[in-house]
Amino acid sequence: MKNKQHMPLFHVAKRASIKWYYAFLIRAAAILLALVAAGIITTVLTGLNPFKVFGALFTGAFGSKRKLWVLLRDIAVMLCIAIALTPAYKMRFWNIGGEGQVLIGALAAALTMILLGNVVPHAVLILIMTAASVLAGAVWGVIPALFKAKWNTNETLFTLMMNYVATQITAFFIIIFEVPKGAGQIGIINQSTNAGWFPALFGNQYLLTILIVLILTVMIFFYLKYSKHGYEISVVGESERTARYIGIKVERVIIRTMALSGAICGIAGLLLVGGINHTITTSLVGGRGFTAVMVAWLAKFNPFTMIATSFLIVFMQNGAGEISTAFGLNKAFSDIITGIILFFIIACEFFINYRIVWNRRERKEEM
């Protein structure tokens, strides 16, 4: 009898740890490969010179002072949603309802602006708007958390559905308050009085928004890293049983964390309405609630790393947007490029967490 033994060429083993520069190198290589792949695909699809296209990417993102501010503004919004989702993810609560939580916060701000715009002084109005947005976002976050805590209802699917409920509620109010009647949209709110609009700092409309997000980022970092709550969140995330064993009230942590997560999403909505757009549409969030999931995950849920990852994603999106106008391509081109880059970065995590061990071929000695 032949004793044939199959020997695979390699096997995969989990890494115990990885040196930071090695992990950094892998990620950098992945981004580089992704750019090469994106370049090749651009050439194949459009027949354009990929270097020219990448040049346009940079001018699209940094080209003028205005574009730079727009870039910073978009990074701030993306970062805000990403840090909002982070506490929940640290707890392994897969909240993909950022889209809805931001939108409902934005709706609360917009409704406050419409209803109280000419009733209360500006400063008071902004305070009420903030309270309304935070509350609306928190409620939208707490609803799935309640069911998760009580009946272990699948939160991914729950939060996903809540997005569309939020969209339809927004659509409902847009028609109620449409200007003019029958237009199907609200238009710029308080155009003449600017009531509820965030003030410009040093003559810049977006600076306040950016500063608020930066402060929030620092706060969330310390909250997660150094507070008792943050510790409880990470224990619940690592092992619910351990958390129960050491006397953490898991249900309370889940509900409290989702309230916080939703509340910060609400703030993102507030910034979108009060600080940036001054109007509300159902596509106001524009998929950023989903993209922020990837931004937060790519940063390994570290708020400061998220500045870099949201920069990467927003830079690609804004830059690719410029490519589409400069070369007469479709706007959706930026989604394709973003998708490709995400695929590469997602795949490269494998090489950070695992290593491939090549099996030496041993000489067949015995029969």
Binding site: W151, V293, A332, D335
Partner: protein, 342 residues
């Protein structure tokens, strides 16, 4: 018998005969998506890339049909090729998407939610990009592509359907993809519930370590379930363009149907045979706002659109409250499997 009551029933009957086929046509893409997603989820993979995959399925079919129609130069099309080329293009496109997803989540063990969302970003972008490019190629004023020739072949129903009056209209008036999707849904339900392969598939989704120990090739099952699921979901996109939309592709027209298909999976508690009926119900709910008497109050219509999602939420909550074993999501749904992990 009062004439009023009889008149009411007659009106109601006419309404059903006109409403039901529309609900079915809305429902078929959802059914395809949910059947594909159910098969994938049974292997333990929550594929949030389904909306993107359905876009790619649709646009791949459109690309195939576009180049075939343009290669004809006015000649008579081959009755087989005009169906076969878009159909295979659709399957190929969605298969590739499924393979990207399984490469990332099975082989590279990436987070499923992140990989799925990236796939949706990519897929929707892909659909809109090629849609936009083809629209430019044909150089018309209208921002859409009309493939009426291919569509008329896809919409071809049985020749005797029209002779059968209301029965024919309600049950026999659809294109072949609709029947194919329904057959696939019933087959999937049967295979999952009643066969050895289905048992193995469920074992992989519930507890891959046990399945592995029992000698089931876990990764092979995951790959095939994802690839097959993606191809079936892609057919939903094809049906939408060629049948429902009369061969007209316009960007973003497919909308949020992909997410609704994922909702349908929960609504039907992972049973594709239930999904055949539930998708028609969802299809009906999707277009209900066009039929309900809202008068001048258009805002209420937007709230009606919420119904499918709210109903899904209620089902999700009730099934989690009841904790009935067979109505739960697959236990390892969303978790990567690595043999050496303990």
């Amino acid at each position: 018998m009062s004439g009023g009551l009889g008149g009411f029933f007659a009106a109601f009957f006419t309404f059903i005969v006109s409403f039901f086929p529309r609900a079915v046509m809305q429902g078929i893409p959802l059914l395809a998506g949910s059947t594909g997603e159910t098969i994938t989820e049974k292997s333990g993979h929550l594929n949030l890339g389904i909306p993107g995959i359905m876009y790619v399925g649709g646009i791949s079919g459109v690309i195939g049909a576009f180049f075939y129609e343009n290669s004809l130069h006015g000649a008579e099309p081959n009755n087989f090729l005009i169906l076969f080329i878009p159909f295979m293009a659709c399957l190929l496109g969605s298969l590739l998407m499924g393979l990207i997803y399984s490469l990332l989540t099975v082989t590279f063990r990436a987070n499923q939610n992140v990989a799925g969302l990236a796939l949706t970003t990519f897929g929707v972008g892909f659909g809109n990009f090629f849609g936009g490019s083809l629209i430019k190629l044909v150089d018309t004023e209208i921002p859409s592509i009309a493939l009426s020739l291919t569509s008329s072949h896809f919409r071809q129903s049985l020749p005797f359907a029209e002779k059968l009056g209301w029965f024919g209209k309600m049950f026999l008036s659809y294109g072949f993809v609709a029947y194919l999707v329904i057959v696939l849904a019933f087959t999937a339900a049967f295979v999952i519930k009643r066969t050895r392969v289905g048992l193995n598939l469920r074992a992989v989704g519930e507890n891959p370590a046990t399945a592995d120990a029992a000698g089931i090739n876990v990764n092979c099952y995951k790959y095939i379930a994802t690839a097959l699921g993606s191809m079936i979901a892609g057919l939903g996109g094809l049906y939408y363009v060629m049948d429902y939309a009369n061969g007209v592709w316009s960007n973003d027209a497919f909308g949020d149907r992909g997410w609704l298909a994922i909702a349908l999976v929960i609504f039907t508690v992972w049973k594709p045979n239930v999904s055949v009926f539930a998708s028609i119900l969802f299809g009906g709910l999707y277009i209900l706002n066009n039929y309900l008497p809202t008068g001048t109050n258009l805002a209420i219509k937007e709230l009606y659109n919420m119904i499918p999602y709210v109903v899904t939420l209620i089902v999700l909550i009730i099934s989690s409250m009841k904790k009935k074993r067979e109505n739960q999501p697959p236990q390892s749904l969303g978790l990567p499997y690595f043999r050496e992990d303990r």
